[in-house]
């Protein structure tokens, strides 16, 4: 009988890149389902199209860089970037918009910096910001959620495809509606109660659609936390900072209100950002305390942009700005190493 001699390492590889990426992809499922239920097949079409573009771009650049194509395509990171980007883009955004965003995310955001693990910025957010800055009109085309057919009907599969491919001659032209964050931003004279009474689609807190979507992403994020894909520090930092800022500058329910803490937690890209973007292990901070600071910075900046900046939602910009700061944060939050009484932090004489 042959006894195979088994040598170390004995780890079974539960923390391989591919496994983790698949787990995160699985965790986006509640969000995908809720988005599809509320807005029709647009999100699903976006995800498929963006994934195809991402894989194509990744393969092309890897080939140019003479790296093993199959090995890197199988680790699912390109697909995850594409899925997160597709979830952030409006459903039914035209095909070329998704194409530009995804190609920028993969080629300029990731591969030109050296590929997996080398990118200083979150690739999905790079792609999102590029199209947000370049094509502001298309990026604000959010349809009304299911149940508000008076504003815009929920499209079926064929109509959705027509809308995305641009053959929408038979479809209504003005069919989108402003999100709650948009309305709050441009509001000058109405009180919060009057605003919400005038827009039935806003639901009770952050918009009928966006509440449900945010709660779904929260559920997915908690699943990942339970699976220990990431620690609680970055998401909690971001959510706590956002809540604290919105509490400090709430300003009641008058016409100059910036919205309640609950509104800010459940609208826009808050939960998607908190659990799927700021937890990026590559572009975020590394140490636990650093992650807390990183998340808090994203939360504060996101609120500052929402309340006083030029864009209705600021999560993407906040993440990119904090990505720039992540190396510095890491530098000053190095943990104590075993055998040393004090941690080594900051600049020393002779450095």
């Amino acid at each position: 009988m042959a006894l195979p001699r088994i040598t170390s390492p004995h780890a079974t590889g539960s923390n391989r890149t591919r496994k983790i990426m698949q787990l995160v992809l699985l965790a986006t499922l509640p969000g995908v389902l809720v988005l599809t239920w509320l807005y029709g097949f647009g999100t699903l079409i976006n995800i498929l199209w963006a994934s195809a573009v991402a894989l194509g771009c990744e393969a092309a650049v890897l080939r140019l860089r003479r790296r093993p194509v199959g090995f890197f395509l199988r680790d699912c990171t390109a697909v995850l970037t594409a899925v997160l980007l597709a979830l952030a883009l409006p459903p039914y955004s035209p095909w070329w918009l998704t194409l530009v965003a995804t190609a920028f995310a993969i080629v300029f955001g990731k591969q030109l910096f050296g590929g997996l693990g080398q990118n200083p910025f979150n690739p999905a957010m790079i792609g999102y910001v590029v199209v947000l800055v370049s094509f502001p009109v298309e990026m604000t085309n959010w349809p009304a959620p299911r149940g508000f057919e008076a504003v815009s009907p929920t499209l079926g599969l064929v109509e959705g495809l027509q809308r995305i491919l641009g053959f929408s001659a038979g479809l209504p032209d003005a069919w989108t509606q402003a999100t709650a964050l948009d309305v709050l931003k441009v509001n000058k004279s109405l009180t919060i109660a009057e605003l919400w009474a005038g827009n039935p689609a806003f639901g009770s807190v952050g918009g009928y659609g966006s509440e449900a979507v945010n709660l779904a992403f929260l559920a997915g994020g908690l699943f990942l936390l339970y699976k220990r894909v990431f620690t609680w520090h970055a998401p909690l930092g971001m959510l706590a900072a956002l809540a604290l800022m919105s509490l400090l500058f709430w300003n009641g329910s008058g016409s100059d209100s910036n919205g309640s803490p609950l509104f800010h937690l459940l609208s826009g890209a808050t939960m998607l950002g908190a659990f799927f973007i700021v937890t990026d292990p590559v572009s975020g901070a590394t140490s636990l305390r650093g992650r807390l600071i990183f998340g808090a910075g994203v939360g504060v900046l996101a609120y500052v942009i929402r309340a006083w900046g030029g864009y209705p939602d600021g999560v993407a910009f906040a993440v990119l700005l904090m990505n720039l700061a992540a190396p510095t944060i890491d530098y000053y939050t190095r943990p104590r190493t075993y055998g040393h009484s004090k941690p080594e932090r900051g600049f020393k004489l002779g450095d």
């Binding site: 530009v100 300029f108 800055v133 370049s134 094509f135």
Partner: protein
């Protein structure tokens, strides 16, 4: 040891290009390259200042003390820039307004002071003027290429508003490349677009250089086999 005119031209236009290799004058390069007409206007102005300043600096190179040479060069360059500014005010007033601060800033352009100190202060008038012309042309070519690419991506046109520089005959030069319903990739016109396109241009130049070098190596005769280098030999080691 003075360079031949051919070498000076190759240096300015390609091998030592101020925009792509020395990366000098990045501020106007990135700031005014959002359309072809802006880029061409500033490129011409810079090339003119550079040629004249190189000639002038070369003329006074024997009489300036080395301690005060930089202030003297800057005075010359500033005077020439003022001339250009007044000329543009007189003949292309709209373009002068569009380019704004970038015209007086030609004074502080590192290319001009750099060429004055590195070349014109050590060479004769004719060579210095030619070097200024070639460096200016190299900078201008990069500027116009950048401007054309950014304008093409950003608004889908080429040669728009050329009448600002060339007068009424250029009214009809505007070409709509992608048709009138092109959305316009706004990022290309914004500052990040300048950095991205410049980076891609530098990459393209490096690729071309590498290919040329590989081709030259392939064409060159193979190096002769190295004779055996044994330690103990009786004859003469080649």
């Amino acid at each position: 040891m003075s360079q031949s005119y051919r070498e000076i031209a190759v240096n300015g236009l390609w091998k030592n290009n101020p925009g792509l290799v020395q990366l000098l004058g990045l501020c106007p390069l990135l700031g005014t390259s959002n359309s072809t007409v802006n880029a061409l206007g500033l490129g011409l102005a810079t090339a003119l200042v550079l040629t004249c300043s190189n000639a002038a600096v070369s003329l006074i190179r024997g009489v300036t003390q080395s301690a005060v040479r930089l202030p003297a060069f800057v005075m010359i360059i500033a005077a020439l820039t003022t001339c250009i500014e007044l000329l543009m005010q007189a003949f292309t007033y709209e373009l002068y307004q569009i380019l704004g601060i970038f015209i007086p800033l030609i004074t502080t352009n590192c290319i001009i002071l750099g060429r004055a100190d590195a070349f014109a202060a050590r060479h004769g008038v004719a060579r210095s003027a030619f070097d200024g012309l070639m460096m200016g042309a190299g900078f201008g070519l990069v500027l116009v290429t950048l401007g054309a690419i950014r304008e093409l991506l950003g608004s889908g046109t080429l040669l728009a508003n050329m009448h600002l520089l060339f007068g009424p005959i250029a009214e009809g030069w505007r070409i709509e490349v992608f048709g009138s319903d092109y959305k316009g990739f706004l990022l290309a016109i914004l500052p990040p677009g300048a950095f991205l396109v410049l980076g891609l241009l530098i990459a393209a130049k490096n690729i071309l250089d590498e290919r040329a070098e590989a081709r030259a190596q392939a064409l060159a005769p193979a190096p002769e086999a190295v004779p055996s280098r044994r330690v103990r030999v009786t004859g003469v080691i080649e």
